[in-house]
């Protein structure tokens, strides 16, 4: 047990160091990279010139770089992240809310992805070489290489009113293509309120984005699951299990799956950055106000305060998610306690 604790502590320290690294890298990326320094060149639009002055005083842009760094760190940890140019709201609250939206999106689609992906992958591994395996792997590779933004667009236009499909099939559902704010609906306001009209609207509007993200990442999981299971199935201890007289289902349940799962968990964790990248694209296509949407928006509108801290949020979220998956792995695989 003590060993388990020691490994857990070591992993946490690693994560902490990584977060520190992200914070520094974030600073470097936004300030010190060669090329067009966003900071020293104010947004050209006249209405932002006032914000320019704000920028200077807030970030101390006239001070030497190392002092700017200190200020940056101060602001970061006290959650004093300034005010967004575009919405004139505190960046911290904007980003936290955006993070919430993104988590909802990524959360729902990941649950769906894991369930279906694991099922398909397992079935394909068991029916190796048979038609199901062949087709599901082929479709999987096909989907895996699909740019998520394109998939989103196609889905968007497939479910819109008067789409090709809804005209051909009377039963084809119509799904809303954008975020929850439907200006035709008098019950909704653009400012979020926790009441039923808003929640139900949000849920319905979540369907397409979540579906897109799911389909885009499902393929990866199912392929990994299949390969992981096949790797296990060729192991010697599976032969031992069969030699003991266990039937196929028992061998699967007691020996193959428990061994096939841990590598998959770790591979999913590594893929998180990829999943988040997909989420960003989905948010842009569907006008879904999560972290991804805000990132692109901040770059387009040169909304510096938002930009400065949005990378940290994304990176830290991934590190924490990786840490959690590490802990899950520790719990699942006793061998890891040694390394």
């Amino acid at each position: 047990m003590a060993r388990l604790l020691a490994v857990a502590v070591r992993r946490s320290v690693n994560a902490f160091v990584t977060i520190i690294g992200i914070i520094c890298l974030n600073y470097v990326l936004v300030r010190l990279m060669p090329g067009d320094p966003i900071l020293s060149q104010c947004p050209h639009n006249a209405q932002y010139s006032a914000s320019c002055a704000y920028d200077y005083s807030f970030f101390g842009l006239d001070l030497p770089p190392w002092q700017q760094f200190v200020i940056y760190l101060q602001k970061l940890f006290t959650l004093d992240w300034g005010v967004s140019y575009t919405t004139h709201q505190p960046v911290a609250s904007v980003l936290m809310r955006a993070l919430g939206w993104t988590l909802v999106l990524v959360g729902t689609s990941t649950i769906f992805t894991i369930l279906i992906g694991m099922a398909v992958g397992s079935y394909a591994a068991l029916r190796r070489g048979k038609p199901f395996d062949f087709f599901s792997t082929g479709i999987g590779i096909f989907l895996y290489g699909m740019p998520i933004f394109w998939l989103g667009l196609v889905l968007q236009f497939s479910f819109i009113k008067n789409s090709f499909f809804s005209q051909t099939f009377s039963w084809w559902p119509v799904l809303p293509p954008h975020n929850y704010y439907d200006f035709n609906n008098p019950n909704l306001s653009i400012v979020w309120v926790w009441d039923w009209p808003h929640v139900s609207s949000a849920l319905v509007h979540l369907i397409l984005p979540a579906l897109t993200l799911s389909l885009g990442t499902l393929a990866g999981i199912s392929l990994v699951m299949r390969n992981s299971l096949i790797d296990v199935m060729t192991e010697d201890f599976v032969l031992t299990a069969r030699a003991k007289g266990l039937n196929e289902r028992q061998v699967l349940r007691r020996h193959i799956f428990p061994s096939g799962l841990p590598p998959m968990v770790s591979l999913i964790a590594l893929d998180l950055a990829f999943i988040l990248g997909g989420a960003y694209q989905v948010e842009v296509v569907f006008d879904y106000y999560g972290i991804g949407w805000w990132t692109i928006n901040a770059i387009d509108t040169q909304d510096l305060p938002v930009l400065q801290f949005i990378i940290v949020i994304g990176g830290v979220a991934i590190v924490i998610a990786n840490l959690i998956s590490d802990f899950i792995l520790l719990w699942l695989d006793p061998r890891i306690k040694i390394t």
Partner: protein, 308 residues
């Protein structure tokens, strides 16, 4: 009684380099033979050859240049016999754009993947081979880079580099895509280091560079190669995303950009759905081709995935 006589032949004296070349050649021949018989690999290869042909023959196949204004049809016209995919907002023939786009995608994809692969392999080899604190530092840095959503990383780097030309975009994707390769190569190097033959070579007194070049690198090469092919697929995807966000090459038009324009101009509702769908399908199929080939190659080089 015809006892069989066993004749021991003297091996001819050949330089180690020639020997290595012959062995490598033979191995390559084996692998090529297996590729030819592997349906997946051949399918992928066919797709790739198709697109390479399109890219190379673009100047002759495409009726117009990618940004050349056409005179015989108004902007945003739907498909017609003269303009198979219609005309864009700026008055360009979309069909030509799609064909020219093949060049950008392939060029950027392959070159960026080479950049990423070279950097990643070098980092992975050094990190795995040298070990110690160098390994720790490099891997920590790698972790950090991997933790930042690649899209954000790419966007920031692209936005910073200002005017995007071909070289620029290649560097952007290459410089942000090395992390996974480095990690994969490193773990391969680590497991190779454990193998006995390395120990023995060390005992004989080989220098470290000899070890690296002659023993570890050749053994890691199949993995490097298969990994590079998959990296190409990812690079093409990355480029399309960047193009969609208007951060890619400006002089030539890329498929992602065509899709973005299609979306901005409501292609679906003005009667030109192909504008949106076809460039997307091109990306899908090109990437599919690389994945099929890379996947099949991985199976060939990693026998465990084959039926036992």
């Amino acid at each position: 009684m015809g006892a069989t006589e066993v004749v021991i032949s003297r091996p001819s004296v050949v330089s180690p380099f020639r020997a290595q070349l012959t062995i490598t050649g033979r191995r390559l021949g084996e692998v090529w033979h297996q590729i030819l018989h592997n349906k997946t690999a051949m399918a992928g290869l066919c797709i790739l050859i198709f697109f390479v042909f399109l890219a190379l023959a673009a100047p002759w196949i495409a009726p117009y240049g990618p940004l050349q204004p056409v005179n015989d049809a108004p902007a945003l016209s739907p498909p017609s016999p003269q303009h198979l995919m219609g005309v864009s907002r700026l008055g360009n023939d979309i069909f030509s754009q799609v064909i020219w786009g093949t060049q950008v995608s392939l060029l950027v994809g392959v070159l960026a993947a080479i950049v990423a692969s070279v950097i990643g392999t070098a980092v992975g080899l050094i990190s795995g081979f040298v070990g110690g604190w160098v390994d720790d530092v490099i891997m920590r840095f790698n972790d950090i880079v991997l933790s930042i959503p690649w899209l954000v990383l790419m966007i920031i780097v692209a936005a910073r580099l200002g005017t995007i030309d071909l070289l620029g975009i290649i560097l952007v994707i290459g410089l942000t895509g090395w992390s996974v390769t480095a990690r994969v190569i490193r773990s391969q190097v680590l497991s190779l280091k454990e193998r006995m033959f390395v120990e023995r070579a060390k005992m004989v007194g080989s220098s470290n560079t000899h070890l690296l070049l002659r023993h570890i690198f050749p053994n890691a090469f199949p993995l490097i190669f298969a990994n590079t092919i998959l990296t190409v697929a990812i690079s093409i995807l990355s480029e399309s995303v960047l193009a969609f966000l208007n951060l890619s090459v400006r002089q030539n038009i890329s498929w992602g950009r065509i899709v973005a324009e299609a979306q901005k101009n409501n292609a679906m509702t003005i009667g030109n759905p192909g504008w949106l769908i076809i460039p997307g399908l091109c990306i899908v199929f090109l990437v599919f081709g690389f994945y099929l080939f890379g996947y099949a190659l991985d199976e060939i080089l990693n026998p465990r995935l084959r039926r036992r």
